[in-house]
Symmetry: C2
Subunit: 554 residues, 2 copies
């Protein structure tokens, strides 16, 4: 039961399946925004295509449309003035359900082939999606291209590979022969993949594609229909995705209502109604902890996958020299203004200082070095905005502005930066506050955005204990450790990973704790309150389908 | 990181891993209760061992014991008068949690080796467990031996094999090397299996071992501790299991509190408190729908796996001759007095009758033939009791006695049978009631026990639609279809399996719809209200652990 799209992408799939198991480096979609790869006019064409979307209805020919909705504003300044179909959820979900049986019965290869073709077409639209991601999330162009395009596509492919691999482990047909006293009992058994039904994917405002593609493609590959519910602030990247998916489905002869869009606004949100709807069998959510917890508790008719938020730690013990660690941390804290769920927030170091090349450097001196490193990195506004991007949500600016009054000593104040190209852009540099270890009320909470605490502890052991406890109790996705002592590295790796935080040891140069690579890094462990699901492990896909069976004597 | 127990059982494991994927016939533990296999004195020794347990405390040296509890009565007549430790759940769970990290860090091979050794020792105790199962569940000896012993052990092994296979797909260590412009970025990544914590396994009164072993061994293999909560009516088989597991754990140098017993009585149940305890991370439940639903809704701090109940259908369309189908159904309905979750309850057939060798046989004539078949099968009390066993729960007898007054025409009345060896045993023959299709209130509900409805429908299509709807709405684990028309077989297989019921077509001779074979038959699909979990699929094991990771430049 092959399929032309399956055959077209079979090599890519096989490489992806091998790589999710080997977990070595691989990427299917080039991360360099180069004209040589994506077409010499791709960037200009895509910017024009993006501009042509503005101030217009974004048409999606899906059932249950009862008006228009949409109020996105670019963090770079302008309102997008794009409207999307407003969906009657009952009608939309009914259409999604109706599309389901044919998709289920099409078989693994047809479904996976269609998924791979959608990903290939999304890849071709990477520049266009990059502009959409940039002007909804506030990411700088390069990040919007990479994280919103090829990296997101790799994450989607990873989910397809996992799903394909696990589904193919269930044989389609076998003969079961049990020896008997006189003659054997012989049955032919047939096994079928049974999807759960309709999945809802709730997108996040900061990484609308990267965080949604695994769920969208895991759902689709395992036979489910998908309703994409973007964050009201970042609809366009997912609307483009839905458009592409529907076109491919139609072309392949399937009901395009297998992928639909359910857009809303901050003023009239629909997510609660949608995720608790009786026709919804799967919910994937990326976003804040409070709402993620609400969904986990209330969407009881569905299986729920969440990626929420955490309090990520850096543990500083001893380093060979300062510039390496300062440079690495300065970039980590500045990249996309700390608006990544993997960005470090709390830097723990002994109150007596850290060892630098065997010499003790005080907390004050380290603070000064780090502040200096960030100022140097962001000294040139033109370069700064390409790292910082813009602040997605005005609430983040308010949090940033209020933080110094809530406790701690300002080591580095946050500043506004005027974007050379977009003077209205919300651009802010990182804020660093120094606090005592006993000021848990100040730092032991998620402070989303470019807010970092330097926390003076009793000792490295105390730092480790505090970071691990925060991971267990508040959730953490990442943990960075810097130490020249292998015993300390081992202890942190043991305790932090046991608490469910992915640990990075002694990262220097061009690799950062907030980076998570498809096919190799498990993003979110599921083992602490930062989320209950992992992008992507076996449980992420095997729970999206059941197995049906029939048997007949032969 | 191998382990002597792992090496001892490696061949068995490898065969099991291969078979859960090939799904062909295999069994690790001989199902014949033969002295040649289990030792010439095994039966007599085990009966003596069982008798020696009666009227005594069953000692388990576990923490938090605050008295004694237990009130089991054999369905064959006598009270067992065995008491078990009454557990302070806070203390018991604390001990289980404390045992966890060492077990987690012991690694996959050590854990799987210990599981396999426990299973091997349980296999050696199969006769003893058979007596315990017989005198708690009411199963006849042969079934108690097979289903309670080797078949349950096979199901446990199947879960270990799935868990091993899925855990080993996560590499322990890899080098990830991303090419760069000047030099590559090279990280060594380490991955760890992180268990969820403490699992609770809630046993059922009818199949205390068969339905609990998959969960117990899936939990243990993936690094979790297990608290075994038997049904108050069937504690002994699981107490023997816990005893064996603790002995092996101790011998292997692990904390025996990784497996503990939490016994209770019907009068003072502890399950609600236990499954909602903050220290419980996994709950496996087998039992009635109402309580299963309650656990699914209330044990929100845990991941919950349920096997509840359903309304299983037989669809009769056309057969080559009557004796084959009558003989097969008579045995299916009589075996263990219909107390299997896989036993058929509703037999749908067209009101105009079924085709037998091309001739139409009326509903009345089929009813007569089936009644006659059952009477013939159970005519000799000595043979009858070896098929029927005894009724586990007096409530089932009451349900059986009340059923004729609740609607339908009695085709075959239920009778008491005097057990030649145990005159006090609760032995009942099947009741068959004929109803109209529109009497849904009578038949479209679970009537646990030897109660069968013959339902006269408009047509086979009507039968199929009713059976599929019942599966979707009430739940169903099995569906049997008899038809000489391949199109009808295909239609039923399609509709019933899509509704989550495992379909058996035209079973004749010594294979029955209520039998489910380890390594090959997926027991419960999870796709309808009969349960949310499958014994055993990949989701059953992959959801019991997370993956932690750390990375360091090389």
């Amino acid at each position: 039961m092959s399929h032309p799209f399956f055959e077209r992408h079979q090599e890519t799939l096989e490489q992806a399946v091998a790589t999710v198991r080997s977990r070595t480096y691989w990427s299917a979609y080039p991360e360099i925004p180069s004209g040589k790869i994506y077409g010499e006019t791709a960037k200009a064409d895509s910017e024009a295509a993006f501009n042509a979307r503005l101030n217009k209805p974004f048409e999606i020919d899906q059932p249950g449309t009862t008006g228009r909705v949409g109020a996105e504003t670019s963090p770079y300044g302008m309102a997008l003035e794009i409207t999307y179909p407003r969906a009657d959820l009952d009608v939309l979900l009914k259409a999604a359900k109706a599309a389901n049986p044919e998709w289920r019965d099409a078989g693994i290869e047809a479904r996976v082939g269609v998924c791979l073709e959608i990903l290939a077409r999304l890849n071709k639209r990477s520049f266009e999606i990059a502009y959409a991601v940039m002007h909804t999330t506030g990411q700088a162009f390069m990040m919007a291209f990479q994280a919103g395009g090829p990296h997101a596509q790799d994450r989607g492919l990873e989910a397809v590979a996992f799903a394909y691999d696990e589904m193919k482990r269930v044989p389609a047909k076998v003969v079961w022969e049990k020896p008997g006293k006189t003659e054997s009992i012989k049955l032919e058994k047939t096994y079928r993949i049974l999807p759960r039904g309709v999945g809802v994917v709730v997108g996040v405002s900061t990484f609308p594609t990267w965080n949604s593609y695994p769920a969208i493609f895991a759902d689709l590959a395992t036979g489910n229909a998908v309703v994409v519910k973007p964050h009201p602030g970042a609809i366009l990247p997912l609307a483009l995705t839905v458009e592409t998916a529907r076109a491919v489905l139609k072309e392949a002869g399937f009901d395009p209502n297998l992928v639909t869009l359910a857009a809303d606004t901050v003023e009239a949100p629909i997510t609660k109604q949608l995720v608790t709807h009786r026709d919804v069998a799967i919910v994937d959510f990326t976003g804040g902890t409070a709402f993620g917890d609400w969904i986990e508790q209330n969407a009881r008719q569905a299986i729920v996958f969440t990626e929420k938020a955490g309090v990520n730690a850096v543990i500083l013990d001893s380093v060979p020299d300062l510039p390496g660690v300062v440079g690495n941390l300065a970039f980590t804290l500045s990249l996309y203004s700390g608006q990544m769920c993997t960005t470090s927030q709390n830097i723990f170091l002994p109150k007596d200082g850290i060892l630098v090349g065997g010499q003790r450097v005080s907390v004050a001196d380290f603070a000064k070095a780090l502040a200096g490193g960030i100022e140097k990195l962001l000294g040139d506004p033109a370069r700064a905005v390409e790292i910082l991007g813009a602040i997605q949500n005005p609430a983040t600016v308010r949090r940033l502005e209020a933080a110094p009054s809530e406790g701690g000593e300002v080591v580095l104040p946050s500043k506004s930066v005027t974007h050379p190209q977009f003077p209205q852009a919300r651009v802010r540099t990182p804020l660093i506050l120094k606090v005592r270890a006993d000021q848990e009320k100040v730092y032991d909470r998620e402070m989303f955005g470019p807010i970092t605490y330097l926390i003076a502890t009793e000792s490295t052991d105390d730092s480790i204990a505090r970071a691990a406890r925060a991971a267990r109790e508040r959730g953490a996705i990442t943990c960075a450790i810097y130490s020249t002592d292998p015993k300390v590295l081992a202890k942190v790796s043991e305790q932090a990973t046991a608490a469910g935080a992915a640990t990075s040891c002694n990262l220097l140069g061009n690799i950062y704790v907030n980076q998570s690579a498809a096919f190799s890094d498990y993003h979110v462990s599921g083992a602490n309150p930062a989320g209950n699901a992992t992008l992507t492990d076996a449980a992420y896909v095997t729970t999206r389908f059941h197995v049906g069976q029939s048997r007949v004597p032969v």
